[in-house]
Amino acid sequence: MTVVIAGFGSSTLEKRSDRGIAAFALEAALAALADASIRRDEIDGYVGAPFATNAGSPHAEGGDEISLKTVAGLMGLRLTWGADLYRRYPTDMVASAAHALQAGTCRFVLGLRALYVAPGLDYATGTSGPVFGADQFTKPYGYTTAGARFAARAWAYMTRHGATRDDLFAIVDLSRRHAALNPQAIWRDKPLSLEDYSRGRMIAEPHGLFDCDLPICGAQAFLMCREKDLPQGATPARVTGFSGFARPEALWSMSGRGPADLKTAQLYDGFSSMVWEWLDGLGLTEPGGAPAFLRDGNGEYGARLPLNTAGGALGEGRLHGMGHLREAYLQASGRAGLRQQAMGPALVQVGPYDDSSFVLLEPVNV
């Protein structure tokens, strides 16, 4: 049974805001409903993944996180099914919504993810005092600070494969240039020269300031339904595959596609070096081949595999993969405007090297 994304909505994206996280959440949700031509009262399913990942987050409901209970209450939703996926990603939200739709549990599922920068907090560094569980082996060393673990991995990758900061800049540069065609991107009017990039202060070597995505206040939301329930006026993209990172081959077996079929890729880039992980990991490049692949221009518009075509998190702002999913939807449904690339299988990957998931979206042939 075929399932589609029927529409997508975004709030404005802001570096800081006097509005609370719920205002962003509802702005995105209502935009998604309008985009999919669905009324509020038709929504009978919900999926979220509310988690603020910053080391210093207070994890306050309605503060810097917002869950099903709050959204449903504030929107007056009457749900047959809903779930928040703890510490999961927008790609997992799509898979869960697809399961609920295929099971016949509900007809119209709202998916929502909101992020917020609460004032007065040291978001980057985090904690003192007692630490529990896995934290006892990481936080006393500052390892959860500023993406230190991704930086440590980037060091090893670059050292093994001879990649340099120029290769990191190539990713940031591509993100900024692609963000220029994304009207809501935080960095849309901010091209970055190599000199600017080099002047950015070091955060966690080899990552400097511009290798890190910018925390923002914002939310995005999608509407999913079975293809036969698609409302008049909505533009669908078919969900043809999804899988977890430990079995990426399941993405291909489910969709009947392979890496060579991809027309675009949205790869998670909370830190620039993360883009290399799944170019290599999915076999799009040889191990260690991702930097050269990008240096040779293969990720550009119109090239072999246009990458992060709305600017990714490095260009648009930190939406924890919702922006990646939205762009894949727009590309697969032919709605990406000036950014539109060849229509066909659109890959989304969200998450780190040791905990990602994938979704494949495709045009609906009419």
């Binding site: 003192s128 630490v131 569980g133 060393y141 500052g142 050292t159 093994r160 955060i203």
Partner: protein
């Protein structure tokens, strides 16, 4: 009485207590599965391979392999200034187990992935002794 800020303090459980007790004696201690012989990560309640729950604490060599490294320019820990060098250490006896340590003496400057290092433990900060990369002259 003034409160001196200190590094985050681990709260051990039955699983992680042998590690921290070993650390207090300056030794790397992990638990070995009595069913199949593999080393268990510190948090594991059972052997991840055979799921046996008989895990006995064992003092290891302290030899590790450099897996990852970063110099952190933010200041997450009290009482330290300047960039902090964090290293990911793969335990020599079972590189699937990766421990984080500080390198406060520049031992890993210029080192390459898989370089052999020696892990030791710092004097107590608060109640805990934290993992550090030992300079060659301090190796037991």
């Amino acid at each position: 009485m003034t409160h001196k800020p200190q590094r985050p303090q681990p709260v051990p459980t039955a699983e992680t207590r042998p590690f921290w007790e070993g650390a207090a004696e300056g030794a790397l201690v992990l638990r070995r599965c009595q069913g199949c012989g593999r080393l268990a990560p510190p948090l594991a309640p059972r052997c991840p391979d055979c799921l046996c729950d008989t895990l006995l604490a064992e003092r290891l060599s302290g030899r590790v392999m450099l897996k990852g490294r970063t110099r952190l320019h933010l200041q997450p820990l009290p009482g330290r200034t300047g960039p902090l060098t964090l290293v990911e250490c793969a335990v020599f006896e079972d590189p699937r187990i990766v421990l984080i340590a500080l390198d406060e003496q520049g031992v890993t400057d210029g080192a390459l992935p898989d370089a052999i290092l020696h892990l030791g433990f710092s004097p107590a900060e608060g109640d805990a002794h934290f993992a550090v990369v030992l300079p060659p002259e301090d190796r037991a």
